[in-house]
């Protein structure tokens, strides 16, 4: 349990889970900095699915100003968001 928890909270672990989810849902490979919505592969409506996934997978709540497209545009942006929200929750 401690091992899986620490993996979930590391940047690499978060990136891995996000990448896995995106590949499964879009049948497309993604680079960490690649703009999902500029790609034409996913519509902007898919962003809400990403929000729900991020909240469930990483046990965070995304609200107010954090609920913005720029936080979900790339795997890196989502990873930063999760790390920040986890840090705030732990503080």
């Amino acid at each position: 349990m401690p091992e899986s928890a620490s993996e979930r909270l590391s940047a690499a672990g978060i990136e891995h889970r996000l990448h896995e989810f995106l590949v499964e849902r879009t049948k497309t490979e993604w680079e960490p900095g690649q703009d999902l919505f500029a790609s034409g592969v996913v519509s902007s409506l898919f962003a809400m699915e990403l929000v729900v996934f991020v909240e469930k997978a990483f046990d965070v709540v995304v609200e107010r100003e954090d609920l913005a497209m720029d936080n979900f545009r790339t795997i890196s942006a989502m990873t930063d968001l999760v790390l920040r929200l986890r840090k705030a929750a732990d503080a």
Partner: protein
């Protein structure tokens, strides 16, 4: 004289996909809403659905800045309709259901209150010839999701009064929507064009001429359609789409509006689209 330009609450009748979406649009623009539905399960689920719509609107940056959300109240009857600035009916596309409801709304609402039918295919005239005070009745075709689509199709029935039309324009402004007024008729402009296209797209898939993803990719990539016809079908709800196609087919006789066997099969299997988690595509829970 029909009202509607004031700052009072809206009454939305029908807590399904469109009713919840329209409610979220109004709340997000600071307009209080009284949401009514006779189905207790739908009414109980509505606040969660509305919250999801509002979160999506926030995510996409389409909520007006600095506006406090309107207050939501719910009821299982037409209680409270008499105090509404405007009444928006958003129930399924069945003429008998709409006629009966609009007769009850006309009895409950004060004369001069703007009464809207959110319709995708049924002509306003078919309601107006039966319900009292048809001068207060206007058709408005909100598209799903209402918060994200800034244009609304406004249908002027043959008896719609100038005051009601002015009230709809004022309401559209209050909701940050751009109204485009068209004449009455089956499917108006958008559904007559779009539903036939979706039906044809389903037939193409049924005949094995292209996959679902390829049909959408072609319409998106070559013709600039934002979501592709089959993903749009999932957004509309394939059950509602079939209802609308039947309305169009019965009234126009156009064979292109006779629902595709593939659409009928999806409805029979309960695969209605986004709202059930599966249609032409699969969706994660919201």
């Amino acid at each position: 004289m029909t009202g509607g330009a004031g700052d009072g609450p809206l009454a939305v009748i029908g807590a399904g996909v469109m009713g919840a979406g329209i409610t979220a649009l109004a709340l997000g623009h600071g307009v209080p809403v009284r949401l009514l539905d006779v189905d207790p399960d739908k009414l109980a689920a509505a606040p969660g659905d509305i919250r999801a719509h509002l979160r999506q609107a926030q995510l996409m940056g389409v909520l007006p800045p600095g506006v406090a959300p309107g207050e939501l109240t719910t009821a299982a009857s037409l209680e409270g309709v008499e105090g509404a600035t405007a009444v928006i009916e958003a129930v399924t596309e069945h003429l008998k259901t709409k006629v009966e409801l609009h007769c009850a709304i006309a009895d409950a609402a004060a004369p001069g209150t703007l009464r809207i039918t959110n319709t995708s295919s049924i002509p306003v005239a078919e309601l107006a010839e039966v319900v009292p005070r048809p001068q207060d009745l206007v058709g408005v075709h909100f598209m799903n999701p209402p918060s994200l689509i800034k244009t609304i199709e406004v249908i002027r029935g043959p008896q719609t009064g100038d005051a009601a039309l002015a009230a709809v324009r004022a309401l559209a402004q209050r909701l940050g929507r751009r109204p485009i007024v068209v004449a009455d008729g089956p499917g108006f402009v958008t559904s007559l064009l779009l539903h036939r296209m979706i039906n044809a797209a389903a037939d193409i898939v049924e005949q094995g001429r292209a996959t679902v993803a390829d049909v959408d990719a072609l319409l998106e990539g070559c013709l600039g359609h934002p979501t592709g016809p089959l993903r749009t079908a999932d957004l509309i709800g394939i059950d509602n789409l079939v209802d609308s196609l039947r309305v169009l087919h019965e009234r126009t006789g156009d064979a292109g509006c006779s629902p595709s066997p593939l659409l009928l099969r999806k409805v029979a299997e309960g695969d209605y689209g986004r709202k059930t988690g599966r249609g032409f595509y699969e969706y994660a829970a919201r």
